[in-house]
Amino acid sequence: MKRIRAGVLIAALSVSILAVGCGRSGSDSENGSGESPAAKANANCTKEALQATEIGVSADTITVEVMADTGSPLAPGLFQGNVDAMNAYAKWVNANGGVGCRQLKVEAWDSKLDPTESKNGIINACKTAVAMVGGNALFNPDVTDLGKCVDKAGQPIGIPDFAALANDVNEQCAANAWIVQAVSEPCTGVNTGVRDLKAFVGATNFYKTIQPNLKGVFLVPGDLPTTVQSSTYQIEAQRSAGVTWIDTMKVSGRSEQSAFNTYVQALKTGGGNYAYMGSNDVAMTKLRKEAKAQGLTGVDVWACSLACYTENFKTAGADVDGTYVWMQFVPFEEASSNKTVETYVNAMGGKPDSFGAQAWQAGMAFTQAVNEIVAEKGANAITRANILAKMKTLSFDAGGWIGKARTSPKVFSDCMVIMQINGGKFQRVFPKEVGTLDCKSSNIVTVKIDPAAAAANIK
C-alpha cells in the first residue's frame, strides 16, 4: 500500500500550496463573468455538419478523462473533489450550450495512488478521450504515453493534459501538460542538482507587516522525500525574504500531539514569533493545541499553507483561531463577488474544496481552448494537435477567479489573498477589498538550490 491517507494528503497539499493563478493586482481586478461557453461560441457550429474529428470527439460529444486518486483503500475519496468538480462542470457546461458545439462527457479514472494505474489512466485516455482534464494523480512518474500516444491520424503526438495539480516533476514538465497549480521547476530538461526554482514570498512579506523580525520554525511535511524536497526552496525563499529560522523540522499529521511538543519547545527556547506549517490542517491543529497546552504565547504569526483551507480546519475549534492561510484564488467565502466562484460553489452544492476548484478551472481552460479552435478553424477542427497548439498560447483567467490572464502552460502566479480563521470561519485579511487578489512581481523570488541536498539539513 502506498502511504496512508495523511501522508498522501500532505504530499498533495504541500504541492498545491504552490497553487498557481495568474492574477491581477487588487486594484484592477475584475470580477469573473461566469458567462457560459455557449454564449461565447461562434456561429461556426451551424456552418457545417458536425463530425467525429478525433479520438474522443464524436458528432455530438467530446469525451475527456479526469484522472485522480479516489479509490485507494487506505485513502478512500482522497481527490474525489476533482472528479465531483469535473462532473459538476460538465453538467453546468452542457446546460449552458456545451463545448465546441458538442456535449461534454467526463470519464473518471481512479489512479489509486499507484504509478501503474496512473500510467494506465494515460493509456486509457489515449484510446477514449480527446484530452485529460482536471486530473490530480500524485504518483505519475511515467508520462511516456502522455507525449507519444497516437491520435486519430496515427501521429504520435500524445494527448493534451489540462491538469489541476501535478506532483511528479515528469508530469509538471511534460510538453503536453497545462497545469493549474504552480510549477516551480525550470523544466530545462535536467530536473536534478542545483537549479533555479521559483517560490512564493508574498505571504511572508505580509506577515512581516505584522512582525517585522520574523523568527521561528518551518514545519516540513515529512512523510515523503518529495515533499521534504519541495519545502526546501520555500524555506530558502522565506529566509531570503527576511525570516530567521530557529529550526526547520519534519512533521507528520500521523504523529501524536505530544510529539509536537518538540516544535513548541523550539519556539519557546528560541524566542520564536513565527510558525509556518507546510503540512496539513491535522498537523496545524495539533501544533496549536500543543502550543496552548504548553502556554506558548510569544508567537505573533501562525501561518499555514493552502492545506489548512479545509472544512475540517473550520471545526478544529478556538485553539486554531488566528491562523493565517494564503491562497492564489478568490476564496469560496466570497462567491458572491465573482460569478465564476459562485457558479462553482453552487454547482458543488455549497461544499467546495480547493482540489475541486483547480479541477473546475482546468475544465474552464479546456473549454476555452476548444471554443477558440472552433471559432478560428470551425467546428470540425477539434483535434488533439490543434488543442496542443492552442494550449501553448491560451490566455486564461478563469473568469477573474485567478486574476490576470496566464499565457503559458506552466506559470507561477504572483497573486495571493490571505485569510485568517476565527470562530470557525475564514475571513479575508489581505488585500482588504473583497474579490481581489494582491499581485506583484515581488511576491515571487527565485532561489538557486539543490532540493535533494538541502533536504538533508531538515531535522
Binding site: 500521523r254 501524536e256 475540517n312
Partner: protein, 734 residues
C-alpha cells in the same frame, strides 16, 4: 576454571555498543540541560503512556485467549468513534458515554467475536490465527470508514483540556496525558491482579493452557473465553478513547498504532502486563530522545520511524531460545496425496492457457461476449497482479510447508526491485535478475537467523519488524534508491527475442513471460513437494522435536527454506521493477505486504495453485468494477470484503483451494480418493454436530464416547462445554 559467558550478556553488550555508536554518530548537538531533559521525559512518558495502554490490552488479550490480535487497535478505534458519536454528536454526558462504550458496546463486541470467530481458531494454524485477526482489523477499519466518512472532520476533546496541567521545568504535562499514564499504570496493575489473584483471571489463563483441564476444575471455558475477549475489547476501547485526542480521530492513526504496541508487547514477552507498560514507556522515551537529541541526516532520514520496529527486533533477540515441544505432538494434517508430475505439468499448462487466451483476446471470441476483453490497460494490470502472485508463490514453501510465518517477503521483493535497478535494470541486463536472486537468497537467510531460535508468533513479529526496517531504513537509503531520481528507472529487458517492460507495446509479451515464469515456478514447487526437502520442512512444521529425533538438522532445514523463499521473492522484486518501470521510496511498506499473506492464507497457503488463485483474486475487484461500473455497494464490499474473506478462514482453515479442489477433483473418474475424503469429512462433521433429534442414536449408530457426551451436554444446555466441537478439519502448520 573456564569462564562461562551468557549469550544474552554478549547480545546486550553488542546492542548497547551499537546504540551508543548510533547516538554518538547522530547526535544533534542539543545540550543536556534541565530544559531538554524535562522535555524529553515529559514527552517520552506521555507517548509511552499511549503505547503502554494499547500494549497492555494486547498482552491481556493474548494471555487470556492465546491469540495475538492484530485487530486490537482497530477495535479501539471503532470504539473511540462510538464514544465520539455518543458524547460529541449525541451530547451524552462523558460518564454515561464511557459506560455505554466500555461496559456495553465493547463487551458485546468481545462476546460476539468469541462466539462467531475466535472459538474456531483455537486449534488453527498460527498463520490462520494471525490472518483472521488481520482480516478483522481491515473489517473494523472498513466499517468505521463506512459509518464515519473520513471527509468529515471530527475531534475528541482531551479530558480537562481547559485546566492548566502540571509544570515540569519548561514543559507542561496536561491532565489528559497524566490521566493516560496513570490509567495505563492502573490498568497494568489491575489486570495483573485480575489474572493472577482472582479466580476469573486464573480461569482465563487456565483456559488458554487447557480448556479440558480448566473445565474439569469447574471453570466454564466458553463463558471464560467470551469474558476474555470482552475484557480485551474493553481495554482496546479505553485505549482508543484516551489516544484519540492525541492522534486525532483518524482511522489510520488509531488502527496502525498496533505496530508500536506490538513492540511494547514483545518486550513483555506477551506475558507480563506491567512489563508491557514498561515497554510502552521505553518506546515513548526512545522516540522522544530521538526527537530531542538526535539528527539522523539524509542517509537515515526516516530511521526514527523505525525505532519501534528496531526495539521489537532487539526485544526478540533477548527472548529465550524456543524449546522443542515434546508431549504436544498433534496430528494436524491428513496424509496428503502428492500431485503427480503430469498433473503438475497439466496445471502449469492450464495456467499458461488461461492467461494466454485472455492476453490474446480469445475469451470474448470463445464466450461470444465482450466479457474478459483484454486491453493494453488490462494487460498491464494483469502483469501487476501476476508479479504479486510471484511474491505469494514465494510464501508457499516458507509458510505453507515449513510453518515459518513471515511478513517480510514483500519487503525482500522491494529490496530485490531496488537492487535490480543497480544490477542491470537500468541497462536492460537480464543477468542482473540472477545477481539479485543470489543476493536475496542470503537476505532471506539473514531473516532466518532469528528463526533459528524463535518460532511461531515471535518469528512472525520479527519478520514484521524486518519489513518495517527495510521500508523505513534500507530502501530509503539514498544509495539504494535516490529520492531525487524520477521517471522510468528500468529499461526493457530482452529474453530470447522477447522484450519485457512497462511500456504499453511490451505488455502482452511481458504478461506471457510472467505466466510462463509463474507456471515454471509452480511446476518446480510441485516437484519440490515430492522431494525429501519438502518432507523435512513439513515434518519440521508438524513436530520439530520428532524431526530432530529422527535426525533432521533443523538449522539447515530452516535455512534452506528461507533461502529458497528469499530467492523467489528477489525474482518477484525484479519483475515488480520491470512491471512498474518507476520506483519510489515508499513503494514497499509493511502494510502493502500484509494483504498478500492474507490472500494466500485465504486461498490455502500449502498449495502452490493458491498463488494463481490469489492472482485471480487480486484481479477480481477491478474486473467487477469494469463489468458493473462502480456501484457503492461494491465499493463497500471492496473495503470490507478482504477482511470478511480472512475471517471466513475461521470456518475454512485449509483455504479455498483445498475445499474447492477436493470437490472438483471428486468429479474426476480417477480421483476416488477425493470422493472418499469428502465423504469422510462430511461424516465427521455430522458426527461432531449432534442435534437434539439425533440423541436417540447415541450408543446405536453413534459411539457413546466422552466427547459425544460433552456435545450432548452442550446441546441440551446441561453444562458448559468442556471441549467444543470442531466444525472443520484443522490444518496447516501448528
Amino acid at each position: 576454571m573456564r569462564l562461562k559467558v551468557s549469550p544474552r550478556l554478549i547480545s546486550a553488550i553488542v546492542v548497547g555498543l551499537v546504540i551508543l555508536f548510533l547516538v554518538n554518530k547522530n547526535w544533534g548537538g542539543a545540550s543536556i540541560s534541565a530544559k531538554t531533559i524535562s522535555s524529553f521525559l515529559v514527552v517520552g512518558i506521555a507517548l509511552g503512556g499511549i503505547y503502554a495502554i494499547t500494549a497492555g490490552g494486547l498482552v491481556v488479550t493474548y494471555a487470556t485467549t492465546g491469540i495475538f490480535n492484530f485487530a486490537h487497535a482497530a477495535i479501539g478505534c471503532f470504539l473511540a468513534f462510538c464514544y465520539w458519536q455518543l458524547t460529541v454528536k449525541q451530547g451524552l454526558p462523558t460518564v454515561v458515554a464511557l459506560i455505554i462504550t466500555l461496559f456495553v458496546i465493547a463487551p458485546a463486541i468481545g462476546f460476539l467475536l468469541d462466539k462467531v470467530i475466535m472459538r474456531r481458531l483455537r486449534d488453527a494454524a498460527l498463520v490462520v490465527q494471525l490472518m483472521v485477526t488481520v482480516g478483522l482489523m481491515l473489517t473494523f477499519m472498513g466499517i468505521t470508514l463506512t459509518i464515519w466518512s473520513p471527509k468529515t472532520g471530527r475531534s475528541l476533546p482531551q479530558f480537562f483540556q481547559n485546566t492548566q496541567g502540571v509544570q515540569f521545568g519548561d514543559v507542561t504535562a496536561t491532565w489528559h496525558r497524566i490521566i493516560t499514564v496513570v490509567v495505563a499504570l492502573l490498568v497494568a496493575l489491575g489486570l495483573r491482579f485480575l489474572l493472577y489473584k482472582t479466580r476469573l483471571g486464573i480461569s482465563m489463563r487456565a483456559v488458554v493452557d487447557s480448556r479440558s483441564l480448566a473445565g474439569l476444575t469447574g471453570a466454564k471455558p466458553s463463558i471464560i473465553s467470551g469474558s476474555s475477549w470482552a475484557l480485551g475489547c474493553m481495554t482496546a476501547g479505553l485505549a482508543g478513547i484516551l489516544i484519540a485526542p492525541e492522534t486525532g480521530l483518524v482511522v489510520e492513526n488509531l488502527a496502525l498504532i498496533i505496530v508500536v504496541a506490538s513492540a511494547a508487547a514483545a518486550i513483555a514477552q506477551l506475558k507480563s502486563i506491567p512489563m508491557a507498560f514498561i515497554g510502552g514507556l521505553v518506546i515513548g522515551l526512545a522516540k522522544s530522545f530521538s526527537a530531542v537529541y538526535l539528527e539522523w541526516g539524509k542517509d537515515w532520514a526516516y530511521a526514527d520511524e523505525a525505532i519501534p520496529a528496531a526495539i521489537l527486533f532487539i526485544a526478540l533477540l533477548f527472548l529465550p531460545m524456543a524449546r522443542l515441544e515434546t508431549g504436544k505432538i498433534r496430528i494436524t494434517k491428513r496424509t496428503e496425496r502428492l500431485t503427480k508430475p503430469w498433473e503438475a505439468a497439466l496445471g502449469a499448462g492450464v495456467m499458461i492457457a488461461i492467461v494466454g487466451a485472455w492476453a490474446n483476446g480469445w475469451i470474448p471470441w470463445i464466450s461470444g461476449t465482450t466479457f474478459g476483453e483484454r486491453s493494453t490497460v488490462w494487460l498491464g494490470r494483469g502483469a501487476g497482479f501476476l508479479v504479486l502472485g510471484l511474491v505469494m508463490l514465494s510464501l508457499i514453501p516458507l509458510i505453507g510447508w515449513a510453518g515459518q510465518v513471515s511478513f517480510a517477503n514483500y519487503a525482500i521483493a522491494g529490496i530485490g526491485a531496488v537492487l535490480f535497478s543497480h544490477f542491470g535494470g537500468q541497462n536492460g541486463d537480464a543477468l542482473g535478475i540472477v545477481w539479485v536472486m543470489l543476493i536475496c537468497a542470503p537476505l532471506g537467510l539473514a531473516i532466518a537467523l532469528p528463526a533459528l531460535r524463535l518460532k511461531g508468533l515471535y518469528l512472525a513479529l520479527a519478520t514484521m519488524a524486518f519489513a518495517e526496517v527495510a521500508d523505513k531504513v534500507l530502501i530509503r537509503h539514498p544509495s539504494m534508491l535516490d529520492p531525487s531520481a524520477t521517471g522510468v528507472l528500468f529499461k526493457p529487458v530482452n529474453f530470447f527475442g522477447i522484450t519485457i517492460s512497462s511500456s504499453a507495446s511490451d505488455r502482452k509479451a511481458f504478461l506471457m513471460f510472467l505466466v510462463i515464469a509463474f507456471a515454471l515456478l509452480f511446476f518446480m514447487l510441485e516437484m519440490l513437494r515430492r522431494t525429501r526437502w519438502a518432507r523435512r520442512w513439513i515434518a519440521m512444521s508438524d513436530s520439530p522435536a520428532a524431526s530432530a529425533t529422527i535426525g533432521v538438522n533443523l538449522t539447515t532445514t530452516k535455512m534452506m527454506v528461507f533461502m529458497l523463499s528469499g530467492a523467489m521473492a528477489g525474482f518477484a522484486g525484479c519483475m515488480i521493477g520491470l512491471q512498474r518501470g518507476a520506483l519510489s521510496v515508499d513503494s514497499f511498506p509493511l502494510f502493502a505486504g500484509l494483504p498478500l499473506v492474507l490472500l494466500i492464507a485465504v486461498q490455502g497457503v500449502r498449495y502452490p495453485v493458491a498463488a494463481f488463485m490469489g492472482f485471480i483474486g487480486l484481479a477480481s475487484f477491478p474486473a467487477l468494477f469494469e463489468v458493473l461500473g462502480k456501484p457503492s455497494w461494491l465499493t463497500a464490499i471492496e473495503l470490507i470484503g478482504p477482511g470478511i474473506a480472512a475471517i471466513a478462514m475461521a470456518y475454512r482453515p485449509e483455504g479455498a483451494v483445498f475445499y474447492s479442489g477436493r470437490d472438483l477433483a471428486g468429479l474426476l473418474p480417477w480421483r476416488k480418493d477425493a470422493r472418499e475424503e469428502k465423504a469422510l469429512a462430511v461424516a465427521k462433521e455430522r458426527e461432531q454436530n449432534i442435534g437434539k433429534d439425533e440423541i436417540g442414536d447415541m450408543g446405536l449408530t453413534r459411539p457413546f464416547s466422552a466427547d459425544k457426551v460433552a456435545q450432548l451436554d452442550r446441546v441440551l444446555d446441561i453444562t458448559d462445554l468442556v471441549d467444543e466441537h470442531k466444525m472443520a478439519p484443522t490444518g496447516g502448520a501448528s
